[in-house]
């Protein structure tokens, strides 16, 4: 299986009046195509900053980063944006739906930005898949938190990304809705063979990923693989098909 994301000696510092703050130090990691990775850690450990760097939303102070074989750390903002448009999808903790657009318009947006001609049909298809086809003309304020996150997931998958970044996707939801959303996320992840990188502080969600990377004070302190998932991933690598046990997790 090919490597889709690779980081070497990533450092991220911010400069304040009181001196330099090291947010991330010496991060090395590589993620293979189709894998699911959870970045976990306490608040302030640098999870979201790492996610931002990996997704190309920001640039590291030093270090190298490749996304889909492109040297992301050497690209300017324009080229990184182009790469994001082609490769990356996002799910955010606070959904980040645009309040002035309807559910359908929100889902269509990434495809429209790429000038895709089938933006509408693709968006409608994904809204059906998150069971919100009947509410496509509703504005975000007319939807509950769980529904808004389902729209956000439909938007993330409608752009058919190779890699999907999710920042605390269940962080703003109650337990019931949280489960529902994580089921949806993993089901679509499997169906579309998208690589999933998510940041969470919830252990149950992290355990549903094949691999967990633990951050503490900006450094990777552990990088482990869930035993049964290790087997599943190697199986997937061979068959490129979701296994029965994985399908069972979709709920």
């Amino acid at each position: 299986m090919s490597i889709i994301l690779q980081a070497e000696a990533l450092n991220y510092q911010v400069f304040t009046s009181e001196g330099t703050l090291d947010i991330l130090s010496d991060i090395h990691l590589s993620i293979t195509q189709g894998d699911s990775v959870a970045i976990v850690g306490a608040s302030g450990s640098g999870k979201s900053t790492l996610l931002g760097l990996l997704a190309g939303l920001d640039t590291p102070t030093s270090g190298k980063l490749w996304l889909a074989q492109q040297p992301m750390s050497d690209l300017d903002e324009e080229a990184r944006a182009h790469l994001r448009a082609q490769q990356v999808g996002f799910v955010f903790q606070t959904f980040q739906l645009l309040p002035g657009l309807t559910a359908l318009e929100n889902v269509m947006l990434p495809s429209e930005l790429r000038n895709d001609t089938d933006a509408r049909s693709l968006a409608e298809q994904f809204l059906e898949r998150v069971h919100l086809g009947h509410r496509k003309h509703h504005y975000p304020r007319q939807l509950s938190g769980g529904e808004q996150q389902r729209v956000a997931i439909a938007r993330a998958f409608a752009s058919q990304p190779n890699i999907l970044f999710a920042d605390e996707p269940t962080g703003s939801l109650d337990t019931h809705n949280g489960h529902h959303i994580s089921d949806l996320l993993f089901t679509l992840n499997q169906e579309t063979q998208t690589t999933l990188v998510l940041v969470t502080h919830e252990l149950t969600l992290a355990e549903r990923c094949r691999r967990q990377i633990q951050l503490d004070a900006g450094k990777i302190v552990s990088d482990s693989v869930t035993p049964q998932k290790q087997e599943t991933h190697s199986h997937t690598e061979e068959q490129s098909e979701p296994t029965t046990s994985q399908k069972g997790q979709h709920g």
């Binding site: 979201s48 900053t49 996610l51 931002g52 997704a55 939303l57 920001d58 903002e77 324009e78 944006a81 182009h82 790469l83 994001r84 448009a85 082609q86 990356v88 996002f90 955010f92 606070t94 980040q96 645009l98 002035g100 657009l101 318009e105 947006l109 990434p110 429209e112 930005l113 790429r114 000038n115 752009s159 920042d167």
Partner: protein, 824 residues
């Protein structure tokens, strides 16, 4: 193209936000103001050029008190110019024992080179347009003169030694003019008949003109060649030479209108900046999200720039359409006022309006959007939706730069632009001071007495920048409106009261020496005692102290280029004061000169001025310098001579008298008796001036009303910027148990207080401006206008109070739960 379509789609989806509507309205307003002024000025300029050219009946002309040399004519023809010749003079016409003075115009066969004549071949036929004057042996006569001479078409009348057939009634000539020589009834004849009449003798009051046509460049090169050989009796008549005051007045009026209009444009631009900042703030999340979805900064900027340019184009087109409609009304109004027709506007003013719209968009809307496009996509993870722009001072440079560029381009004057910018800066400082030392203390004072008022004080304290803007915007609008209103009502009324009741209200012009005694006895018979009669000689300054006027350092003064009316008097005239020197004693031969003219000409007591009256030279020394009072309503002369100095020169008389209203029929009787004397009814002219001032200030008040509209847009945009903050405050106060009436009354109180202070600021400024006008322009004692102090703050409080309360409706109406949930 796809980006453009997407951009338009997003614009359509986002229109509900409201900020773009304010930006659109503000742009439309700016374009309307600039284009209307540009269109009206353009029409006025065109009317002026057209009128000046037809006024000459040629593109250019040379006027001389001597016959036009044949060499000039040959040179003009050699250069391929069209030429024509005119001779004008007053002379006696005779018909069957009746005599009448007429203003005769002898024209060559090429006359008129521009415009046309209108004649009637019989009394009851329609006038026909014709491009040629009378044939040899024929004359055309104005109806008025035909009645005076009792002459009919086909009759013969005599000029000098020759008889002519009256072949047509002269209805219209393009270059009728208003000089003294043309004031009598007109008779037109062929120039080739002139010599035979024998009336042209040395010293005759005759004026010759060489008319020129054939393109401005050719004429300019011809005149350049001719200029060195022209004497003081020859004058080139072109547009500016012919009527320099009109050209300057139009230029000044247009600059003044642009400056007044630019205040409205400035306010519109402030509304644009405020709305764009609010729009940027509201779109920070939007941009962070679309950038995280893969849109680059340039693509993001293009997305917004397309939207704004599309919206700006629509607003500009609508602004141009509004201006087109408005200028029709204004031009119609001006046509009636000036009794002339203004030609259809050209396309250039529309380009000026379009460029103004573009500059406002580039300078005031785009910087916020550029900053918006720089929003980091990391904000989606950081949840930081603060305004990306506020910290970057570079964003505040393009707006003022574009504004300066616009004003400099419109007024064509760096001085005016700098004056305006300085004025605006001072105004903002003044508004800030009003906020600090009037608004806030007043609010705190009220807060001490009424605890509920503290909400208002708190709100005013938090938004001091916004208060300064509103104070400046409405303070200026109210100031300008109040000043104009009180100047045209109260001051003009006071000025009219100042004129003595029995001040002369009729002027007589062009009384010949042989009519003088008859006129005096006619006035005596009518019981008119309050009357003055002065001799008048028309002459041109040729030299000062033996220095030719063309070499004199002050030769650019208009008085050196035109003929002056000179008179003499034994005693100091009423309303005149000797400022330097002494009044003459018997035997003195000298000049008394008006002090301003002396200053402009750079002459003083002891200087000798040389004149030429119709080719007859004479000179005299300045003996004293006088000041004049125009309020006496008697004829005033800039140069008076000692008795006997001008006796040998051709002269007419000018008079003035007071006639009570009930004796008005006397004027008809007088005109019938002295048809060549022109009667000017001064009271009618004053009425006309008053009406004109009323109408013009009414028109300017129209532009100022647009300024109020622009101020309202600034207020709306400003309120929108703070609306979430206001909603939050109101929700919290209501959650603590306050009723909506309290919220409503504190909003009303806040805006009424701002309005009251703007009105107060305007009242102070307006009273100062009125005092300056009273003192310097109208020479009236300075008075305090109590109604101004009473009504301006009151109306300000009501207007801004109502506007502010309306724009904050959602703050009162929004359920507090909804707002608090959104905050959480």
């Amino acid at each position: 193209m796809a980006n453009l379509m997407l951009s338009l789609k997003l614009l359509w989806r986002d229109w509900r936000g409201g900020e773009l509507l304010i930006v659109g309205l503000a742009l439309m307003l700016a374009v309307t103001v600039i284009s209307t002024i540009a269109l009206v000025t353009n029409r006025l300029q065109q009317a002026f050029i057209q009128q000046s050219q037809t006024f000459l009946a040629a593109e250019s002309a040379i006027q001389s008190s001597k016959s036009i040399p044949i060499e000039w004519l040959e040179e003009a023809q050699k250069q391929g110019l069209a030429t024509g010749k005119i001779a004008q003079f007053p002379t006696m016409i005779q018909h069957q024992g009746r005599f009448q003075i007429a203003a005769v115009k002898a024209v060559s066969s090429e006359y008129p080179l521009m415009g046309h004549l209108e004649i009637k071949r019989s009394f009851d036929s329609q006038p026909v347009s014709i491009k040629q004057g009378p044939s040899i042996g024929e004359v055309w006569v104005e109806p008025h003169l035909m009645r005076l001479l009792d002459v009919r078409l086909g009759d013969k009348l005599t000029i000098g030694e020759v008889s002519f057939v009256v072949s047509a009634i002269l209805e219209f000539e393009p270059d009728r003019g208003l000089s003294f020589i043309n004031l009598g009834a007109r008779l037109m004849m062929n120039l080739n008949d002139l010599e035979a009449t024998g009336i042209i003798q040395p010293g005759s009051r005759i004026r010759y003109r060489l008319l020129l046509g054939g393109g401005s460049e050719n004429i300019a090169s011809y005149l350049k060649k001719l200029e060195p050989i022209l004497t003081e009796h020859d004058r080139i008549l072109d547009l500016n030479e012919n009527n320099p005051r009109v050209a300057k007045t139009i230029d000044r009026a247009s600059s003044f209108l642009y400056l007044t209009g630019s205040l409205a444009v400035m306010l519109a631009c402030v509304a644009i900046v405020l709305s764009c900042r609010r729009y940027s703030l509201r779109h920070t999340q939007y941009v962070a999200v679309i950038k995280s979805l893969g849109l680059s900064q340039h693509q993001t900027f293009a997305l917004y720039a397309y939207q704004v340019f599309f919206m700006a184009s629509c607003a500009t087109l609508m602004g141009l359409a509004c201006a087109w409609v408005l200028q029709h009304f204004i031009a119609h109004f001006i046509e009636q006022l000036l009794e002339m027709s203004a030609p259809a506007p050209q396309w250039k003013p529309l380009i000026i309006g379009g460029l103004a719209g573009l500059l406002c968009t580039l300078g005031f809307a785009l910087p916020s959007l550029w900053q918006l496009s720089r929003t980091s996509p990391m904000k989606t993870l950081q949840q930081d939706w603060s305004n990306p722009e506020g910290k970057d001072w570079l964003n505040y440079i393009p707006g003022p730069l574009c504004f300066c560029f616009l004003i400099a381009g419109l007024t064509n004057s760096l001085t005016l632009t700098l004056a305006l910018i300085t004025g605006l800066t001072l105004l903002l400082m003044l508004a800030r001071l009003t906020g600090l030392f009037a608004l806030m203390p007043l609010s705190r004072l009220l807060g001490r007495k009424h605890p509920r008022w503290r909400l208002v004080t708190g709100s005013l304290h938090r938004r001091q920048g916004f208060n300064t803007l509103i104070l400046a915007a409405f303070g200026t609008a109210f100031l300008a409106l109040a000043t104009l209103y009180f100047a045209r009502t109260s001051l003009l009324h006071e000025w009219r009261l100042k004129i003595p009741v029995d001040a002369p209200n009729h002027f007589l012009v062009n009384i010949t020496p042989h009519e003088k005694d008859a006129v005096q006895s006619e006035l005596d018979n009518a019981g008119i005692k309050q009357r003055f009669l002065y001799p008048s000689v028309r002459a041109r300054v040729t030299a000062v102290n033996d220095i030719e006027i063309s070499d004199w350092p002050h030769q650019d003064n208009p008085a050196t280029r035109r003929e002056l009316n000179l008179s003499w008097s034994k005693n100091v005239p009423i309303g005149n004061n000797i400022e330097a020197g002494r009044w003459w004693q018997s035997g003195d031969r000298g000049i008394s000169i008006e002090e301003k003219l002396a200053k402009e000409l750079g002459v003083s007591i002891g200087d000798r001025i040389h004149f030429s009256a119709g080719g007859l030279p004479f000179s005299a020394e300045i003996i004293n310098i006088r000041s004049l009072s125009w309020d006496t309503m008697t004829p005033n002369f800039f140069m008076l001579f000692s008795p006997g100095t001008l006796d040998h020169l051709p002269q007419t008389y000018i008079g003035s008298f007071y006639l009570p209203k009930e004796q008005k029929p006397f004027i008809v009787q007088f005109i019938q008796r002295f048809p060549t004397v022109t009667v000017i009814e001064v009271d009618k002219i004053i009425d006309r001036i008053q009406t004109t001032i009323h109408q013009v200030s009414f028109a300017i008040e129209g532009i100022l009303a647009l300024m109020l509209f622009a101020g309202a847009l600034v207020l709306l945009a400003g309120v929108r910027t703070s609306i979430s903050e206001r909603l939050q405050e109101a929700a919290l106060v209501r959650a603590l148990g306050a009723q909506s009436a309290l919220i409503r009354s504190s909003i009303l109180g806040e805006f009424m207080l701002i309005g009251f202070c703007s009105g107060g600021m305007a009242a102070i400024g307006s009273e100062l401006a009125l005092a300056a006008i009273s003192h310097w322009a109208l020479e009236l004692p300075i008075t305090i206008h109590t109604t101004l102090w009473l009504f301006t703050p009151l109306l300000g409080a009501l207007f801004i109070g109502a506007l502010g309360t309306l724009s904050c409706q959602s703050v009162v109406q929004n359920p507090p739960m909804k707002t608090l949930r959104n905050i959480a």
